[in-house]
Amino acid sequence: MSKRTIQHIVSTAVPLPIENIDTDQIIPARFLKATTREGFGKNLFRDWRYENDDESRPKKDFVLNNPVYGGCILVAGKNFGCGSSREHAAWALADYGFQVVVSSFFADIFKNNALNNFLLPVQVSDVFLQQLFQVIQQNPKTEIEVDLPGQYIRILATGEEERFDINPYKKECLLNSYDDIDYLLSLDEVIRAYEQSHERV
């Protein structure tokens, strides 16, 4: 995989103020038949994006079809990414071009999957999330700043900001393009020792 990192992002954002957006919406099951990680972006939110699955009939009221909104930050309602464990959801968001997803709550497996694909999940308070929706909808050109080293997200126009949490190990990975598998492979001796002392099953 190409070496990616996340550091500091300034971008306009796409608002999706719907709660409990599940991974079946992010990428419907019928698009999970690929055997590579590429190309999922075109089917991102497929059934919200097109009328009757027809690419020539984009649904006008869906935000990805609205040229007013754009950018590499997706701002979404509470409990984003619930449902299936499909990593394809994270691949689709990243392939479409998103680098950050902001919500007031993320489903656990989605959060892991996102982090493993250099897509940064930024969890903010309900209040801050509503503020974000408001300013973006009032002015779609509003720029949002997301800083991973400093762990803050800021609305540039108003200066309002909030800190976000990320576990230190994952932060290191994202900043330095580390990979969990390389790390685990480096523990071969320790794993072998564990296996030898635990041959119970």
Partner: protein, 465 residues
């Protein structure tokens, strides 16, 4: 201080613990299927490494398989390719595959327990969120993404932060017509689709203890539907009796040794949970969902809420859901006509589910306006159903008994509910488009589904018992 069941198993599997880092957790059993594994095998090839423990890895094909004419090549090209790729990967990496046509093939979460692979005290993962099902045996079992599948294939370990722990206790005797699916739909309707996010749940209480293993699996299966990472139930005599004699169960002296260990697997009386909830079995009735997430459930006799009854933040989602479902707030679901009934999925496709349905249906006929699909969870369930004559009961009732697979649980294979149609489904997710684009799902128990099949509408099954 005492330990929870979860802590006992977790701590026994920590290979390395380092401040500020996730734990390195050893995985005893890894299940794989065709959809979430190809990219992981590619990763191994790219790195030039092998599967560390092919002997602890088991594969089956379930999501993409057709449920009719399973002896013929899969017609849909992409599905066929994915299943073929699984076969090739298993051959290349020396993994046991229960593929299409194999007598053990079936939904991954049905075959693990059925073959005795799933045992108390284990850590089990699979690239599928309903891995939580295996928790019914007192195991730590959870779903993972494809990058994590690759981690486990490569190292038999996974990096994990310890989740918080929740205990949900249900006490008392279930009322007539109320089954385990109703228990879990009830809990989720109470605590919402995100009510257990960040937690690992242990189910306890006299109601849970009284359930069979298959009923317990139904409950643990849907833990993920309230956001939990997984669910588990302490093993007991019911668990041991279920496992004994199964293909991969320990035998002889190994059995005695295993049993002695399994009997230590319970939460100590003074163990601390981060959150505790308590429900009374007497308050549970047959349940059904009206919306597009599993938290949108009501007792079958209740009315759909009105917008004012819903928290303001959730109102937009609520209204969107009702619009999608074509339903009105404040109305009852009783007598709502349905077009399809789907009895299957890793939630409710085991032999007890099929028996429950067959008992109810025996001598009755389905309503002319519904199509009824019964999809067993595995080849073995199917064979058992035929042995017991359940297939003939279904045939006489006009139900289609199909071959095993995920089927209409997710709109991925040929079995899809057509746009706009209503389906009473024993599966676990009612998301928009889950059963096919624009399909409308009512989640319910096998009993409620059977009653809908016979009457062609949503009814209170208790009136027919």
């Amino acid at each position: 201080m005492g330990k929870t069941l979860f802590d006992k198993i977790w701590d026994a599997h920590v290979v390395q613990r380092k401040e500020g880092h996730p734990d390195v957790l050893y995985i005893d059993t890894h299940f794989i299927h065709e959809v979430t594994s190809p990219q992981a095998f590619d990763g191994l090839r790219r790195r030039g490494i092998r599967v560390r423990r092919p002997d602890r890895t088991f594969a089956t094909a379930d999501h993409n398989v057709p449920t009719l004419n399973q002896h013929l090549p899969i017609r849909e090209e992409l599905s066929r390719r994915q299943v073929e790729m699984l076969t090739r990967n298993c051959e290349e990496f020396g993994i046991e595959l229960y593929g299409l046509g194999h007598p053990f093939q079936g939904i991954v979460h049905v075959i693990g327990p059925e073959l005795g692979i799933t045992q108390p005290g284990m850590t089990i993962v699979c690239g599928d969120s309903h891995t939580s099902t295996h928790g019914a045996f007192g195991t730590i079992a959870f779903g993972i993404g494809t990058s994590e599948v690759e981690q486990v294939l490569a190292t038999q370990c996974i990096l994990q932060y310890k989740p918080r722990k929740m205990r949900i206790t249900i006490d008392g005797q279930l009322k007539k017509g109320v089954v385990s699916k109703d228990i879990i739909l009830y809990i989720i309707s109470r605590i919402s689709a995100s009510g257990a996010t960040g937690y690992f749940v242990e189910y306890a209480g006299s109601t849970i203890r009284s359930l069979s293993m298959e009923a317990r699996m139904t409950i643990c299966n849907m833990s993920i539907e309230m956001g939990a990472r997984g669910g588990m139930i302490a093993p007991d005599e019911t668990t041991f009796a279920y496992i004994q004699g199964r293909r991969f169960a320990p035998k002889g002296a190994d059995w005695e040794r295993a049993l002695a260990y399994w009997k230590t697997l319970y939460s100590d009386p003074d163990a601390v949970f981060d959150k505790k909830l308590h429900f009374d079995a007497a308050d549970i009735e047959p349940m059904i969902t009206y919306g597009t997430n599993p938290g949108m459930g009501i007792k079958i006799t209740e009315t759909i809420p009105t917008p004012v009854q819903v928290a303001e933040k959730e109102r937009a989602s609520f209204e969107r859901a009702l619009h999608y479902m074509g339903l009105q707030p404040g109305t009852r679901l009783l007598n709502q006509p349905v077009d399809y009934v789907f009895i299957g999925s890793c939630t409710n496709s085991r032999i007890e589910d099929l028996r429950m349905v067959a008992n109810f249906v025996k001598g009755k006929k389905k309503a002319p306006n519904v199509e009824v699909w019964v999809v067993p969870g595995s080849k073995q369930v199917e064979a058992q159903a035929r042995k017991e004559g359940i297939d003939r009961i279904f045939e006489e009732a006009g139900f289609q008994l199909r071959g095993p697979g995920c089927s209409a649980c997710l709109g991925m294979n040929e079995d899809k509910i057509p746009p706009g149609k209503y389906c009473v489904s024993t599966s676990n997710r009612n998301f928009e488009g889950r059963q096919g684009p624009q399909a409308r799902t009512f989640l319910a128990s096998p009993l409620t589904a059977a009653a809908a099949a016979i009457t062609g509408k949503i009814v209170d099954v208790r009136e027919f018992l």
